[in-house]
Structures are given as structure tokens and as C-alpha cells.
């Protein structure tokens, strides 16, 4: 068990270190997110009430799209250079290794997005309650997106230019998340409780957390055949 912990720590440290060395590429999904959110007020108009009404939906749709943009490289580099083969041939269970990789990916891509969210909330005239709703839904929903996204990426690993295919496969799966997240933010805007929506999102996350690592590990093995 101690050995597995050290192996997983090595994977996590390496992935964070690699992300740091590719800062420019790391910034791309974040900039995309920022630009999409910025474009909406220009298109809809600067009316604060209108912006407030659609703010949750805008941020959530932008978050899903920008996350998908960054997903493609989750396993691809390791697959192409053979590191994935070496990772597969260890005593550490592959499903735990992929869970750590997804977690590292989530930290690298989501934490900057969360840090940026207060600015965007201000930008879209969100109230404090709405912002808390947004933050909590992002905290509960984005790990689910990362885990489901990783399944799609692992399944299409052997294909060339699979980016659009992954998006087409995955976006429909995020519809329930989007509905409950925006509903929670709507409730928050009307000073209503939104624990029900958060509960459903937490349930989806736990369900995905229980099953996705093994599906990702299996998909990676199939893709490496």
C-alpha cells in the first residue's frame, strides 16, 4: 500500500511538473473560457438584468467547452511517447493511476478557472448568492466533467484528430449537469435554497467517481491493443 502511494505520488508530481512546463498551452483553455464569457455581453448588450439572468448558463457552457479543449492531451502525450506503456506495466492499479492523472488535470485546469470566477461573476452582474451557487456547482460538477471526459479521451486515444469526436460524444452527457447547475444558480438568484440541485450533482459525481476510473483504465488498455 505504501509503495502504491509513492507510485501515485510520482504520477501526480510528474503531471503537475509537466503542466507547469507547458504554461502557454495551459493558458489556452483558460483564455478561451475568458473570451467566450466576454463575448456574450457584447452580443446580448450591457443590460445588467439580462446579463444576470443568463450569467450562470454562460459560465457553465464556457467552462464545459474550455474543459473539453484541454482534455485531449490528458493521455495523448503519454500514449505517443510510450510512457503510458510503462505506466501500465507497474504494480500500481491502473484505475488508481488514471484517477490521479484526472485529479492532476482537474487541479491544473479548474483551479485557475475557479480563481477567475469572482471576476466573471462581477462582470456578469451576479449577486453574492448567485456566485456561491456558481462556485459550489463548479466544484461539484467539474470533477464529473473531467472523469467523463477522460473516458472519451481514453476511448479515442488511438484515433487521429479525435478532438471534435470527443466533444460530440461527451457534450450530450453533460446536459444533466448543465440543467442542475444552472437551476441551482437560478434558485440562488431568487434567494431560494439550492441544496436539492447540489445533492443531485453530488450524487452524479459519486456515481461517476465509483465507476469512471475502471472504465478509463479498461479503455486505455483497449486503445493500446
Amino acid at each position: 500500500m505504501a509503495q502504491t502511494r509513492l507510485q501515485l505520488k510520482a504520477v501526480f508530481t510528474r503531471d503537475i511538473s509537466l503542466a507547469y512546463r507547458q504554461r502557454a498551452e495551459l493558458m489556452q483553455p483558460l483564455m478561451f473560457f475568458l473570451m467566450v464569457v466576454t463575448l456574450f455581453p457584447l452580443a446580448i448588450g450591457p443590460n445588467p438584468q439580462t446579463l444576470q439572468l443568463v450569467s450562470g448558463a454562460i459560465i457553465w457552457v464556457a467552462a464545459i467547452l474550455s474543459l473539453l479543449m484541454g482534455m485531449d492531451r490528458l493521455f495523448r502525450d503519454d500514449f505517443l511517447d510510450g510512457s503510458l506503456e510503462q505506466i501500465t506495466l507497474t504494480s500500481a492499479p491502473l484505475y488508481l493511476v488514471v484517477l490521479v492523472k484526472v485529479f492532476a488535470h482537474w487541479i491544473v485546469h479548474i483551479v485557475p478557472l475557479l480563481l477567475l470566477s469572482p471576476l466573471l461573476a462581477l462582470f456578469l452582474n451576479m449577486t453574492t448568492d448567485m456566485y456561491w451557487g456558481l462556485l459550489l456547482t463548479l466544484l461539484l460538477g467539474t470533477p464529473t466533467i473531467s472523469l467523463i471526459g477522460a473516458i472519451g479521451v481514453a476511448l479515442t486515444l488511438g484515433l487521429q484528430r479525435s478532438g471534435v469526436l470527443v466533444s460530440l460524444l461527451l457534450i450530450p452527457l453533460f446536459i444533466p449537469l448543465l440543467i442542475f447547475a444552472t437551476s441551482a444558480i437560478d434558485s440562488a438568484s431568487m434567494n431560494l435554497p439550492f441544496t436539492f440541485q447540489l445533492g443531485i450533482m453530488a450524487g452524479i459525481f459519486l456515481l461517476v467517481l465509483a465507476g469512471a476510473p475502471m472504465v478509463i483504465a479498461f479503455s486505455l488498455k483497449v486503445s493500446q491493443q
Binding site: 510510450g82 506503456e85 501500465t88 506495466l89 488498455k221
Partner: protein, 209 residues
């Protein structure tokens, strides 16, 4: 007990049967040279032997552990060096090897790694990202793993001499001899002449339509 025992292996790729009902057993101290023309299925066989690919039929045991179902027990017993080098381009030679050692559950001894890199003629290049090394140097970093896991019982090497200069090929051959003397087993493919001064067995794969 053989180090590797493959029974009734069959492999199909895109409706072509690469090989069928292959039996292969490798004992300690034995060198097996896997021969065959391009497309005969050498790489596929090696990948099946280490559990990276699944055969259509048959099973593989390494030190009595099934590579498909007990890879967590089988993995510490062997080293696999495939076509892909397993080096991340952004990491340095040392970082790549430290990561590999940690993955194998071994202590990442940087001094030992530096000595191996020195032995392989990579002194001064330890801290350069792998992408800035030549193809031969990258291959040497990959093969440095053979020095770092002395407890392995089996080496599975797929074209290990690709892109290497004559001196390094000689060095790797000597390392193989040393490993065989210590009762290690090796199965390898090479389109180049292998000059290992130990008894070896040729396992021929025929191109099948």
C-alpha cells in the same frame, strides 16, 4: 520453473492471423532471439508476452503470474523496452529515469542514475530535456532502465539497437551477457546481428496471410 511460459497463443490483427497456437518457454539464463520478416508479428508477440495486448487465445505466465490478470505481481519481474521509448520529451534524462524508478516502486537514487548515464555516454546531458537529445541518445536513456532494476528476471526488448552507434550496441550486448550470467532471461528482436557470446535460441515467426 520457466521465467516465461506462453501457451497456445494466437493473434489476429485486422482479419489477418499473425500467428496461431504458439508455445514458448524461456528458462533462467536463456536468450531467445525472435526472428521474422516485417509484419510477421514480432512486436505483437512481445506486447502480448508483457500483457500490453490481449491474444485471441492462450495465456502468458511470467514467474507463474498471469500477465493479463495479475500484472501487479508480474510487472516487478520484468523490464519491457518497446518501439516507443517511454521518455517524456519535456523531462530530462534524469527526470525520466527517476519517474520510471518511482513507478517501479524502487527508490529513485539520483547518484546511481547519474552513474548509469555516465556509463552510457550521456554525461553532461542529464539535465537536458529529452526532446533535445538525438535519437540514439534518447534510446540510450530508455535502455538505462536495464541498469536500474537489478531484481528483474526477464528482459523483453523490441529492437533495442535501433539508432545506436556500434560502441553502445557492444555495451548493451555486454550488459545482456552479464544479465544472462546472473540467471536473467532475455527475449529480443533485432534486425541487426546480435553478438552475444552466450548460447541463444532462435524463435522464428513466419509471415502468415
Amino acid at each position: 520453473m520457466p521465467v516465461l511460459q506462453a501457451t497456445q497463443l494466437s493473434c489476429e490483427k485486422q482479419d489477418r492471423t499473425l500467428f496461431q497456437s504458439i508455445n514458448l518457454s524461456i528458462e533462467s539464463g536463456e536468450l531467445v532471439l525472435l526472428k521474422g520478416e516485417n509484419g510477421a508479428g514480432k512486436t505483437s508477440l512481445l506486447r502480448i508476452l508483457v500483457g500490453l495486448s490481449q491474444p485471441q487465445a492462450g495465456s502468458v505466465l511470467i514467474n507463474n503470474y498471469c500477465v493479463l490478470n495479475e500484472i501487479d505481481y508480474a510487472a516487478p519481474e520484468f523490464i519491457y523496452c518497446g518501439h516507443k521509448l517511454g521518455n517524456n520529451n519535456l523531462l530530462t534524462a534524469t527526470e525520466n529515469l527517476v519517474f520510471w524508478c518511482q513507478l517501479q516502486g524502487m527508490p529513485a537514487d539520483k547518484e546511481k542514475i547519474a552513474n548509469v548515464l555516465l556509463e552510457l555516454g550521456l554525461a553532461g546531458l542529464e539535465d537536458i530535456p529529452a526532446k533535445n537529445l538525438s535519437a540514439g541518445q534518447q534510446r540510450r536513456v530508455s535502455l538505462a532502465r536495464l541498469w536500474l532494476k537489478p531484481e528483474a528476471k526477464l528482459w523483453v526488448l523490441d529492437e533495442p539497437f535501433t539508432a545506436l552507434d556500434v560502441n553502445t550496441v557492444k555495451q548493451i550486448e555486454e550488459k545482456i551477457e552479464y544479465f544472462l550470467d546472473r540467471q536473467g532471461a532475455v527475449i529480443m528482436t533485432s534486425h541487426q546481428l546480435v553478438s552475444v557470446n552466450r548460447p541463444s535460441r532462435v524463435f522464428e515467426l513466419e509471415y502468415a496471410w
